[in-house]
Amino acid sequence: MPQSAPGGVLRDGYDTGGFYDEAFERGSDGVVVPRAHYAELVAQIASMDGPEVRRATELANRSFLHRGVTFTVYSEGEQSAERILPFDPIPRILPADEWAVVEAGLRQRIQALNRFLHDVYHGQEILRDGIVPRRLVVLARDFRREVVGIDVPDDQYIHVAGCDLIRGDDGRWMVLEDNLRTPSGVSYVLANRQIMTRTLPDWFAELGVRSVDSYAGQLLDNLVGLSPRRAVPGAAGGPGVVVLTPGIYNSAYFEHAFLAQQMGVELVEGRDLFVLENRVYMRTTTGRRQVDVIYRRIDDEFLDPLAFRSESMLGVAGLLGAVRTGNVTLANAIGTGVADDKVVYRYVPEIIRYYLGEEPILDNVPTYLPSDPEHLDHVLRNLESLVVKQANASGGYGMLMGPSADEDELADFRSRIVTNPRDYIAQPVIPLSRHPTFVPDERGESGTLQGRHVDLRPYVLSGPDGISVLPGGLTRVALVRGSLVVNSSQGGGSKDTWVLQ
């Protein structure tokens, strides 16, 4: 352990608490020491005063508030509130060799899932071959029969993905979820890096951290490449690329606005668009302008009130028709939700083997499907040691944490699972790896580093030039001591994530 400043954040040492710690390990003599790739940073941090780190943290968080880097929290019966995603200044570091494996694993996964989507909406060979049970796919809530047989440019469905990765006790990476609909959070990756270089520039020192700046440019290039009218970008009458947002009340509105601003494209709501003769137009003060590519941050069901939920005020009437005639491209394509369904998730390793003939590079978390009678029995008998998730929910909603649930909750979930086995999955509780995190002391003037559980959401872009993975991603951290839930809606914060060159 490096020498800590007397009032420093490591003055009390550091306790790994028996978990896999991202930054520290127990040496052969049982003493806690920084892992090799953290040594330099830990030395930097140890030399700093507690109050100094405290001030930097506050400064960063205040800056997020002023800039409106916020999300909206919904809770029943209460007004929604605008909050910042609390920022923890201690960065997470991933060495180059480790990242190379993660990157290769993600490419492989997205490639296979994209093939899967094309297949289930066309020939359905994987279903015919019995690799994935047909009923699980065609009866999935997010299987969109409206787009069966419809071709999308380059057979590309998943343009943007944000897979959630975790590490358990042995430090092995596992994929927890594939978010293939409208994954959010990438704006925090960029904002975190910006604030980090501003408030704690010394920490970067000579580490050689890979830049995350190219994300918006890469996304724009990919979107322009999807235009059915492949004209010159930027020129008058060139491809109309827009970001479609549900509006300022959406929890990820900041991100929608941020990405539109960074890409220099229009941020539109459904009411700004209309469809005429299967073409999409936006209303401008000088008339209508054709839209060719829509990076949509609205779920399938709300896209077109004529095709999906008729009460949706967020979408554009006739949009599906424009998609079917190929006059407009949506990113992501309609129907990706069937591939990140939590039940289908269980089959992703088989999906990879089926389409690519390769062994999966990244593991799945063991998953039980109550729809299988044998699994159901196991799930019901071991409910108090399992995590139960709704197959179609996200954001940490609709979840049961067996070990911390009371009898009523367990009974409630037991009956829900028995009634609708297809709607649930169960997984063992994975003791997520921990990362040193700044915890203010009671008087709020200083603080210490303590272990808090983290996950990682890397972002994967697919375009005409292939698949690219943003080096880093969003490290979410459960700020509440002992908590395993990292979701922003449930008291999670975030960290800058450094991939080394």
Binding site: A236, G247, L267, F274, L276, T286
Partner: protein
């Protein structure tokens, strides 16, 4: 120039209006404090003070907030209502909140500094501590009003120096100056009726001549429109009601006169409507007319001002003339909304080619 989304244009137009409204309300509140604080405490002075606060409510159209059966508005309740009340949709805090909400819906189009200035100020005035402090007496309230004016100036400075002179800019200007024209017209009208009071029946010219005996409230009127020093410079003489009114309505150089403001609205709409449909890959909306009625209306009003004398306005009755100006401003506003922002759904007729 780049065509803007109709909704963005609308947001900018309203940001312009709300910020201007907040600033004007702050100026007026501050000027009224300054004017009434020296009146003394006789019963007669109390009544006069009361009339001034009531006039303030007239100008902002909030008279109904203090109905005759309830307590009369005074120097505590009126400023509280005008600055902080969430029931008053036009209170300063509400105006800032709405300007901020509008900016929020289009923040990707604003320079970071501009958005941040508005967001920070909004967060600041929303703090309960800030309200308590600002409501603790005349001095704190006037200081708060100054802070509003300073903020508005800062925001305009940031906007001037960061915003591209594209279409959006002109919508912002159109909103700001249309708001200002309406505000100045209402302020003159309410003050005129308050100050000439009992002499109103004897004709405008006579009433104004009689009112000249007490120039001080006319000075306050100028101050509330931040035109006091300009008056002396432009008119080079002591304060006379007719000259004050003439300046505030017809001056071509005073930035808060009605004529000047209308001229700015005209210039903005001219820029906007010169963007021919078809610009930047756009096509005319089905069923849309190509002539801008808003521009025609504002151009006509501006041309009239250019050839009008105060006598013409007095001949028609000053109150009636000012009412007419306000009505025409409202109409211009309606036309702008119809022509540029209308979210009306397409009808079957539009689609038939």
């Amino acid at each position: 120039m780049r065509a803007v989304l109709s909704r963005m244009a609308e947001s900018l137009y309203w940001i312009g209006r709300y910020v201007e409204r907040a600033e004007q309300t702050a100026r007026l509140t501050e000027a009224t404090f300054r004017h009434t604080v020296v009146m003394g405490s006789t019963t007669e002075a109390e009544a006069r003070r009361q009339r001034h606060w009531a006039a303030l409510l007239d100008i902002v159209g909030e008279h109904s907030a203090f109905p005759p059966e309830g307590p009369e508005g005074d120097e505590e309740t009126v400023p509280a209502h005008l600055i902080f009340s969430s029931e008053n949709g036009n209170s300063i805090v509400e105006c800032i909140a709405r300007a901020r909400d509008n900016a929020h819906t289009m923040r990707h189009q604003l320079a970071t500094e501009m958005w941040e200035a508005l967001n920070r100020f909004h967060l600041d005035v929303q703090r309960p501590g800030r309200r308590r402090q600002a409501a603790s007496g005349a001095e704190s309230t006037t200081r708060f009003c100054r802070a509003i004016v300073d903020f508005s100036q800062l925001l305009q400075g940031v906007t001037d120096s960061t915003m591209p002179r594209e279409e959006g800019w002109y919508f912002l200007q159109a909103g700001k100056f249309l708001e200002r024209a309406e505000w100045t017209a209402r302020t003159i009208d309410v003050n005129y009726r308050l100050l000439v009071g009992a002499n109103l029946g004897s004709g405008d010219r006579h009433a104004l001549a009689a009112a000249a005996e007490d120039p001080q409230p006319w000075g306050t009127l100028l101050r509330s429109l931040s035109s006091y020093e300009s008056y002396h410079r432009i008119q080079s003489r002591g304060i006379r009601p007719t000259a004050v009114i003439e300046l505030l309505i017809l001056s071509a150089v005073l930035p808060r006169s009605i004529r000047f403001s209308i001229g700015k609205v005209e210039a903005a709409l001219a820029h906007i409507s010169e963007q021919a449909p078809g610009y930047n890959g756009s096509e005319p909306m089905p069923g849309a007319s190509t002539e801008s009625e808003a521009r025609r209306e504002v151009g006509r009003l501006h041309a009239e001002f250019a050839y009008q004398r105060l006598d013409d306005l007095l001949d028609g009755g000053l109150h009636e003339s000012l009412l007419d100006i306000q009505r025409r401003c409202y109409r211009i506003g309606d036309r702008v909304e119809d022509e540029f922002f209308a979210h009306r759904p397409l009808t079957a007729q539009d689609v038939m080619v």
